[in-house]
Structure formats: structure tokens, C-alpha cells
């Protein structure tokens, strides 16, 4: 199991996606993409997959898996928690 705090994920998103907001402004279930969201786009999605692999050692190779996992910080945290640890390959 990979236990990752919400604050850690907020920081990861704000830093990697160069957002001009404070990490605490992103809610756990705020959508990351699409209308009413944080405003991320496809480049951010790729950036987050790279950052997740670099920081947690978990590879996301499948676009469908990425879409599911990256809906919100909540979905990302739950998805990461289901992985069995660094080095896991999807």
C-alpha cells in the first residue's frame, strides 16, 4: 500500500502544473480537468504521470487508467493507495 497525504498531492499538482493558486485552494473532490475544474489540460496529465512515477515509483502507462486516476485529488489518492508500492507497473 502506498499512503500519500492529500497535502502532498496538492503540492505535487500545484508545483508540476505551475498553477497560480495555493495548494489549499484545491478541494479533494474538485475536478482537475474540464468545466468547473482546476483547469488542467492534457500536457498537465502527462506531467502528473511523470511526477507520480518520479516521486512514488508508480508507472501509469495506460491512458484510460490515467483518466480515471486523475479525475480529482481524491481519485488519485485512492488509486495510489491501491497500488502495492514503489516499482509497481500498471
Amino acid at each position: 500500500m502506498v499512503e500519500i497525504s492529500l497535502d502532498e498531492l496538492k503540492k505535487l499538482v500545484v508545483e508540476n502544473c505551475v498553477l497560480k493558486i495555493k495548494p489549499e485552494e484545491i478541494g479533494e473532490e474538485t475536478p482537475l480537468f474540464g468545466p468547473g475544474s482546476v483547469g488542467l489540460d492534457s500536457l498537465d496529465a502527462l506531467q502528473l504521470t511523470v511526477a507520480i512515477e518520479q516521486q512514488f515509483g508508480i508507472v501509469i502507462n495506460d491512458a484510460q487508467v490515467a483518466r480515471q486516476a486523475l479525475q480529482s485529488l481524491g481519485t488519485l489518492r485512492r488509486w495510489l493507495a491501491q497500488q502495492s508500492g514503489p516499482g509497481v507497473r500498471q
Binding site: 505551475v18 497560480k20 492534457s42 500536457l43 506531467q47 511523470v50
Partner: protein, 751 residues
Amino acid sequence: MSSTSTNRIVVTGFGAVTPLGLDFPTTWQRIVAGDDAAAPVTAFDVTGCRCKQAATCSLPDLPSLTPKQLSRLSRASRLALPAAREALAEAQLLDDHGRSRLSQLAISVSTTGGGMALGEQFLRAMLLQQRGAGQFFRVARYQAQNQVHDLQQHLGFRGPMTIVANACASGANAIGHGADLIRSGARDCVLVGGYEALTELIYVGFDCLQAMSPDRCRPFDVARNGLMLGEAAAFVVLESEPHARARGARIHCELAGYGHGTDLHHLTQPHPSGATAVAVIRQAIAEACCGAADIGYVNAHGTGTPLNDSSEGAAFATVFGEDGAIPARVRISSTKAAIGHTLGAAGSIEALFAMAALQSGQLPPNLNVRQPEPMVAANLVAVGEQRTDMRATLTVNLGFGGSNAAVVFKRYEAGGVRGSATSVSKRDDRVSVAICGMGVVQPSERPQRMKGLNEASGEHAVLCVDRAREPLAALQNEARVRRASPITLFMLAAAQQALASQPALRRDRLGIVAAFNTGAVVATRRFFEGIVKNGQRFASPNVFPETVFNSPTSHVAAVLGAAGPCYSLVGDDAVWVGAIHVAATWLENGLVEHALVIGAEELDPIAVDAYAQAGWLPPRGRTGFVPSEGAGALLLRRAESKNELRIVQLTDGPTYRHRSEALEAAKECLAEFPTDVLQCRTAPHNWFGRYEEQLPCVKDVTLPYRGDAFVASAAWSTIDAAELARRERCRILLPIWGLSGQCSALLLATE
């Protein structure tokens, strides 16, 4: 603009070096036979990349060069030189010694990486705290203008250079710009083309975007999964019909139409409808005075990425569709599965394929398709197809940053007038554009200290823009530019100032020409630093697109809603005048109602390393060179009266190879300008100050100094001179000394 008998543009020579051959005939023979050049990358290490293949060239032998000369050529020049030579030879423009018969020959070329492999070696050494021999050579030779200097030196011509860096559409833009120069009467013969040498930075960039196919590039296949990168060089000789006929040249075909525009949808994604592609294809077809039904073959951009091919297919369906389908008589192929996506060379080599198809009737096939996209299923060219009844062919390029371009070639039918051919290609420097807005982003007056990345480079005084001050602080919250390099903010702020006095102008008829020397160097350093420190696997997809030369221009266009054409030009300070020349051509042709011309630079520690290694900074630097940054923008429109503040004459060129030749080049540059005008001094702080004193002039004035920021400095000088001209109601001549080999000048007037 229409192609009448008096202003037709004809093609009289072409040459290429590609992964399929060291000359164009070999390439053509192999591509129509269905060969492809996909192979493992060996030019650099790709261990950390997801993909491992590309289409790379064998380097041609250059027996006429000495080993020393050869050692000074970048890989990019090794590809470009034989291709340009082949084009000039084919056009019968080389003498018995392999030198150009035209001593003055304008050149319009494209590239995205220039000699970036040298730049990478420099960056890596600085990041790893290495010193040693060769660093000066690398930093002095990687920029694109050096490859053009190589062509000029080894093929024996001089003249103005235009280097278009519009990403994947650049090659078509370089050809189109050459055509514009001829059509406007400014030139009667132009060498046009593009080149690209595969480099690690670009390869890793596309790899991290997951834009490359891990197996096979399959353009227009429903299961396509990415592109294959490639490298190539391709050149074309364009001439006015009278010039070509006067010298008895063999004419291959007519370049009949050119369309270009900007898709503002997203930096790396086309609009799904392909609306901008539709507009530029229609523009090119209309200019060619033909209809969509006349186009027999289309060389598609067809990268093999899911989004490009669907958007492009939609555009073809809109342009060529009849009763909901594209008629089978329209043959379409992408040649990128065979030779790869050659980026800055793509538009040029693919134009050659479209011309060769028109001439020979053979068609280059679309390889690797198992299940075609339904929209183009009836149109994709198979191996061995021939079609000899075509009147016209089309090539389409859709680039990063939304740069879209299309070129139409028609069969040549004699009938035009004969002109005269001299040993000097014609030059007409007169323009008439009014300056109706200006904007400046300048650095703080107080120098600050900036360290290089390499400890040996030390800490030096630089002049930086205060990014925390308005309007830059507010612009950083603009969603489109949140990832952008600072240069984008400088350009945007300067552009908005220039537009402020004209709130009602039509943004859909606004074009942008931006020019840089070093461009987005912050993003480039950050991206490559990530590769060196974290490995190729963890290269940043968010940073790579910002390293591309035309990204800042594309962002500015998107934020301003400027839907006209956008060019990003590369060169030294003197490219500023070239940028104004492009804008003047667009205005004269009615392509746009207004044009923004922006010169900009940004500073980064790696720039301090570069200047320190080049010996420009203390303690070795004996001049007062102070690195600086910022932007300047002019808003231009066609002049309507002599009371307006106008640019009335300009010369972009000539080039020189050594700084000691700059004075002669400047005298040549200024020879056609009047002498009874106020002449500006722009270079008292650098090498050219002592030359400037030797230029003949009646009265001079020294302009304010804001540090050395290359193209931004040229823009600031123009704005200072323009304000002086307006205040004093006089004519002012502004010479611009390029730091790496070009002089240019412009004349401002108001009465």
C-alpha cells in the same frame, strides 16, 4: 494576389538529403517504391526514452571541403549544405567551381533546432561543471544563423537571410515567404528550404509528450499511435518567371499559391474541425487561381498522431468533400512513415514530393495503413500508384503552436514575359508602413548580479525585467501562459501597450511577426537540466513545448485573439528589420490589416555562461557588453499619408562572416539610403561603436542604452528613434549591427 503572367513564381531547382537518400533523385526513387527509413537511434543515447527509433540520414561526403572546414560544420550544416548545393546546381546557378553565379542571393530557410547538438554539448558541460576546450566554438556555432553562414561561405553568395522557426510548418512558411518576396517585387530569385538534424533535446521532448509511436508510424490508420521523428534538408530555387526565362532556366513547375494562418485552439493540439487548416488550404487554392477540383494529389501533414490526423482529415473533407465524401480522384498521402517527421525540414521536403508528383505522375505512398480512417479511406495512395493528368498538387503542414500552412504547385505553361537576369538578384528596399502603436518592456536601470550555472563562469552584472511589477504580475495569471517562459510575458505586455491606442482594430485581421536571438532560453535550460539531472525518463512534458521557438508567439496570438498569420524569426539583432519586412509584405499584399512586430529576449544563468565563455564579460570582455532582457513591439498598418510616422525604406542584410568585415557590410547596407538625414548611434557600448563613428553622416544622435538584449535592443532603438522622428518631424536612419554576422537598417520619416 493572383498569379498573372507578369508575377508568376517558378521553381527551377531542387535538392535534398533525406534518410532515404543523399540526393533528391535517390530519395524520390525509394519513396515511390515504398521504402521506409525507420531504424534504431544511434546518434545519441536513448536508453531512458520510451521510444527508440527514428529516420536518420547518413552524412554525405563533402570532398570539396578541407578536414578543418568539415570539423567546423554542425550536423545540421552537413545536411543542409549538399541539399542547397544540389538545388543551385540543378537550377544551373553554380559555376565551374561550385560557387553561386548570383553573388547576392536572398535565402529563406526554416529549422526548429538549428545546430542544437552543439548547444546541448555546451549545456551539459556547464551543468556538470566541466570546462575545457571547445565551449566557445559550441556556443558560437549552434544558432541557426551559423548554418546559413555556412551555406553562404561554401556556396559563394551573400545577401539577406530569413530564418523561420514556426515549428512543423516552418518549411512551408520559408517557401511561402520566398514567394512573397518575389511576388512583392523585392527579389527575383530566392533560395528557400529547410533543414533539421535530430538532437537529443527534441527527441526526448517528443518522447516525454508520448507523441512518438513505440512501434510503427501509421498515418491515417485508425490504430495510429504516434509519429516517428526524422531529419533531412531540402532546398528549392524560386524565381520570378521573367528572371528564369531570361537566363534560359529549365522550369519544373509554378508555385501558384500559399496560405498560412494560426490555429489558436491549444499549444500542442489542433482544433478538431481543422478550421484553420481549411482556411489556409482555401487561401492557397484561391491564390493559385484554381479550384479544389484541380488538386490531384495532397501531401498531407499526417504525423500519425491521433489528434493531427483526425483534424486534418476533417479539413480535407471540408475542402474537397462532395456529397459527404472526398472524391477518389483526390489522392492523399503522408510521407512521414517513410522519412519521419523532419520538423523544420518537413514543409520543404514534402513540397519537393508534391512537385515531383506533379512532374512525374508518380505518387509517394502512405505506408503502414492496416485500417484507414474512414474520411480518407478512398484517397490514400498505395505503392505504385501513378496519375499523369494532374493540373495541381498541394502540400499541407500543421505545426506546434497552431502554425498552419499550405502551398499549391501548378504545371508550368509558358506565356509570360522575358526579363533580365544579372549577377545580382534584384533588391527593392522601399516600403510604406505607418507605425500606429508602440510598446516597451525594459529592464530595471539598476544592474543586478547573475551567476552562471558553471562556477567558472562567475557572477556578472545584468539588467533584468522586474517580473513582479505590473503589468507582468497580472499577466502571469493568464491561464494560457502559466507555463510559459518569461519572454512570453514580455512580448505580451509590449504587444498590449502597442495595441492600446487601437482598441477597435480587427483581431481576425491582425498578424504577428516575432523575432529572437536566443528565444525561450529559460525553458530550454530548464528542460535540458531536467534530462541531465533526472534522466530522459523524467523529462518534463509541461516544459518541452515552451522550448519551441514559436511557442511565445503562439501564446501571444492566443491571448490577443490575433487570428492572422504568425511568424517567429530567428537571427541576431538585424533580424528585427527582416521581421518588419515580413510585416510590410503582408500589409502590402492585403493579407492583414495590422501587424504586430515584436522583438524580445530573456535572460538565464546559461546565457551568462555563454557570454562568459565567449569572452564578452569581464574580466576578459573589453567592451561594455551588459546582458539584458525585455521586449519592444510596433503596431504597423499600410501608410495613408506622409504626415504619419512611417518606415519608408529598409535593408535586411548584407551578412558578414567576421566582425572585422562589419564596417564594410554596414557601408554596403547604407549605400542606398539618403545621407542628409539624422543618423542614430546604437552601438557605442559594444564592438561596433568604433565602426559606427566611421560611417558617413551629416548629423547623429546617440540613443538610450538599456543593456544588450539583441532583437529587443533593436526594437527599443527603433521605438526611441520613432519617437524622436515624431517629435522633430524629420527623417531618421537607424543602422542595426547584428552581433553574429548581419547588418540591417531602416529609415523612419514623418513630414
